[in-house]
């Protein structure tokens, strides 16, 4: 009986963790995606996209975008600048050591990414 509550908590914890992972906020999704692309993690980046876009997320394309990001130095994080909730469209300002980039994100209804674009600052 003494161990009943901790055991119950441990039993429920994995489900809570899975639930949280599935309901990431748009900034968290954008940050995770940006970190994956910045690191050149093609598999990690591909897994976040909708099924239709996954074939286009190749290691080569990821390395192109990653190289663009590395021009600005080390990735520091991002902050949201605008959103269109009805369209699930979000814009973020990604901060790097030597500048910022505009991150445009569009989400599908299931939370996967239907568009992710990076716009370097002029």
């Amino acid at each position: 009986m003494r161990h009943a509550i901790p055991t119950a908590v441990l039993a429920v914890l994995p489900f809570v963790t899975i639930g949280c992972a599935r309901h990431l906020t748009p900034p968290a999704i954008a940050d995770a995606m940006t970190r994956a692309v910045y690191a050149g993690d093609a598999a990690g980046a591909r897994s976040r996209f909708i099924e239709a876009l996954r074939p286009s997320v190749t290691p080569q394309s990821v390395s192109v975008v990653s190289a663009r990001m590395h021009r600005y130095g080390e990735y520091r994080g991002l902050s949201q600048v605008s959103e269109i909730p009805a369209q699930r469209r979000y814009d973020f300002e990604a901060e790097f050591d030597r500048g910022t980039m505009l991150i445009q994100l569009k989400l599908a209804s299931d939370g996967s990414i239907s568009a992710y674009r990076v716009v370097p600052n002029e």
């Binding site: 996209f49 909708i50 876009l53 286009s56 997320v57 394309s61 192109v64 975008v65 663009r68 600048v81 605008s82 469209r89 814009d91 300002e93 505009l102 445009q104 569009k106 990414i113 239907s114 568009a115 992710y116 674009r117 990076v118 716009v119 370097p120 600052n121 002029e122």
Partner: protein, 131 residues
């Protein structure tokens, strides 16, 4: 407090006058008291009370501080709105034409008109999917 001191002083003067000359005591005391009240009235009408001045000064400082805080808040809002406008302009420029990964996209004509006079490089867009 000051008025009470003046009245007490007037009473003392009156008593002294009464001892010296009882016939003129009431007359002199009346003059003294009336003069004291006139003096007090003049003092109040020309110079504000110290407590009221301090209160007004304190109130003015609070007002100035509140106005400065409001100005700072408005400046922060302005900076945030400017950042949003810049981001939206860039977003608009990117949404007009998007191509495949790594290729140059042409900005919106309005943005070109605004930025091209300085011959600045056009915004490029990289990524996957259509915004």
């Amino acid at each position: 407090m000051r008025r009470a001191a003046v009245i007490v002083a007037a009473v003392i003067v009156n008593c002294t006058a009464f001892v010296q000359s009882p016939a003129h005591a009431f007359e002199s005391s009346g003059i003294i008291i009336a003069g004291s009240f006139l003096g007090l009235f003049h003092h109040h009408s020309t110079q504000p009370h110290e407590g009221r001045c301090a209160g007004e000064l304190h109130g003015d400082r609070r007002t100035v501080a509140a106005q400065r805080a409001r100005i700072a808040e408005l400046e922060r809002e302005r900076a945030a709105q400017h950042a949003r406008i810049v981001a939206l302009e860039r977003s608009l420029a990117n949404e007009t034409k998007q191509t495949s990964v790594g290729t140059l996209t042409r900005p919106h004509p309005m943005v070109v008109a605004r930025h091209d006079p300085a011959r600045q490089p056009r915004p490029e867009s990289y990524g996957w999917g259509s915004i």
